[in-house]
Symmetry: C2
Subunit: 418 residues, 2 copies
Amino acid sequence: MRYVDGSLAALDSPRMGSAGDDGELLRRYAELIVGFGANVQRGQIVAISTEPGKEALTRALAAAAYRAGASFVDVNSFDTYVKRARIEFSEEEFLEVVPSWYGERMLALGEQRCARIGLTGPAAPGLLDDLDPERTGRDRLPFIAEAVTVVNARTTNWTAASCPTPEWAQLVHPSLSAEDALARLWEQIAHVCRLDEEDPVAAWRSRMDRVGAAAAALDERRFEALHFAGPGTDLTVGLLAGSRWISARFSTIDGIEHFPNLPSEETFTAPDPERVDGVVRCTKPLVLQGSIVRDLRVRFEGGRAIELEASSGERTLRSLLSRDPGALRLGEVALVDGNGRVGALDTIFFDTLLDENAASHIAFGQGYEFSVEEADRERVNKSGLHVDVMIGGEDVNVSGVTSGGERVAVLEGGAWRV
Amino acid sequence: MRYVDGSLAALDSPRMGSAGDDGELLRRYAELIVGFGANVQRGQIVAISTEPGKEALTRALAAAAYRAGASFVDVNSFDTYVKRARIEFSEEEFLEVVPSWYGERMLALGEQRCARIGLTGPAAPGLLDDLDPERTGRDRLPFIAEAVTVVNARTTNWTAASCPTPEWAQLVHPSLSAEDALARLWEQIAHVCRLDEEDPVAAWRSRMDRVGAAAAALDERRFEALHFAGPGTDLTVGLLAGSRWISARFSTIDGIEHFPNLPSEETFTAPDPERVDGVVRCTKPLVLQGSIVRDLRVRFEGGRAIELEASSGERTLRSLLSRDPGALRLGEVALVDGNGRVGALDTIFFDTLLDENAASHIAFGQGYEFSVEEADRERVNKSGLHVDVMIGGEDVNVSGVTSGGERVAVLEGGAWRV
């Protein structure tokens, strides 16, 4: 699950490349994001969070929003090069300054019932890598706490979608030429967003109906735990009595339905952070602050990761997970079936919006409180981080454990059994 | 005289071209703008108004501001392509919507005593030309009324400076290759901003001392009127008793000196809108909404332009000046001596910040109220437009008319006589 205003970055070259020349694809993508994802209503102000290098899609979104009856489109472009200048040169005492109007604007977006659209995809990959991590960690922008307040208040209809850029494409497809890499990334985004369907909205509705039905069935069963079984994996993830299965089909307090992540293939909840036991083998590499963690294996006991090894990136992961006590426990468990389109591409996208939809996953760290009923919210895992780890696949079966200890098939060979 | 947030536009290509590769020029320019123009103080938030296509200078400004002790750099990038989408597609009733947080942010910049920097230069020349002018006229952004409030309150130290872009360079130097045009424009900007001096700040201080001394001498004389005499020009411009000669060296209410226009070669005031008589011939072409007015001659009577002819662009000018009654009267008269660097380049820049500093000029329409003493402010000309018309040159002498009717030399052969 991804927020808008969560993790944007920037680059120096705003040309769209191949898809920029393909105005038709841009227009269809923008209309899907505006009309289906955010579901912009006539008279709404639409806030777009973008970055230098994403101008073409941003402009297409603005046009789509005005055609949909938006009363105004407010574009906010966050430049990671300016953030870099801050981390390099700012005096120590100013590193956490955030102007008062940043939070005020976000709260006004909620009060005035606006729509929000965020464009993800690392536009300036690695730009902050050589900086002092202690200083980098103190500047959390573009993230602001008020964005979480507004999401929890359900006052805005919002969505996050990926925007290909040449730098990002080169990162995903290093063996291709710059032009081919960008074309390939656009093709993949179009595919996972169902833009290659005649009626992408109908395709999404049908897909979300299936995922939503699985979520409803899981909610009905009220399993005590989930069990993951596969090569190198024998893991039990305890669920709270109040754990609710959420899919990415939200509704504002005023009843505007919206789809907060494009694409989304998952249903997720917050597990019991004290009842996770067994071993698990990651089925996809994990991208962490520019380094890649491969062949990760973890052993849990009483909810805590007590053993951890990887063929690469192990130190980075260990250092991250030592951040706070909650970092070694789980905040999220998510199920993705084999009909999801991201996993089939077998590509590391370096964009969590895409990568976390490749397979069933668990996440170390902070959980989403809205995925648990009121009474159990205190028990959701707390941490300053959230790291998704892919553990699912065709050869990993998932079953639900009932209060009587019975195991009921949930996912078998990648297919829903609920 | 140019405001920040007055007239910005955008383009699709953010590469800096030649000066982007010349990090040294960018750094020196950014330091002049931050350290001398805006005179950023330690602990200040710095607001930068920029556009897509101006990333390289914007980033250099951010670095310079943080090095100068800024507590935060808040970049606002206004995209004329998004404005175009609005004018094309917005419903009629929403065309004047401005989100509440736009004005609130501007007022907060004043209340919190921030610094402000605006980058001028038409980044997307002609982009709105084919749109319905009635609809275009209703969307005044990026201009917001609160910017004028904050300027008048003198609570922010601010400056406006030009940022070359490839599209703008091609407009100024259409006969050069794209690369040469950009290099030439950068060279010219560097020259008029005294960046080719060993100590640009010292050069500016000395220049502003000279212009400031002329302004002080003019204030002391309390002329009844100015008289312009040259080929085709015999014009008397009446002054108000409260007309004060302003040069672009401002000071905030807290005493922070700043230089609001880089470059600035002028001293200006608001004339008596009812006492302008005679004939005047323009000495430079005039750029108006994409069309060029050449060989303009105007006859004034009782303050009003009663005859007007030009060899090109006459219709555009007439239509503009019919906007309101004040549009045919003068709001500003400004003197520029022959040592100014802009005029010597003999180039039309299509950026008022530069073009108005090429020669002495008059302006049809709205005057600057702060250039007149309190008692006479009501008498400053009012209009919805402000059009600068260059009327000075080496062969145009300017004299002051005393209350006794005597003429005293002010500018002769381009040299100050006061």
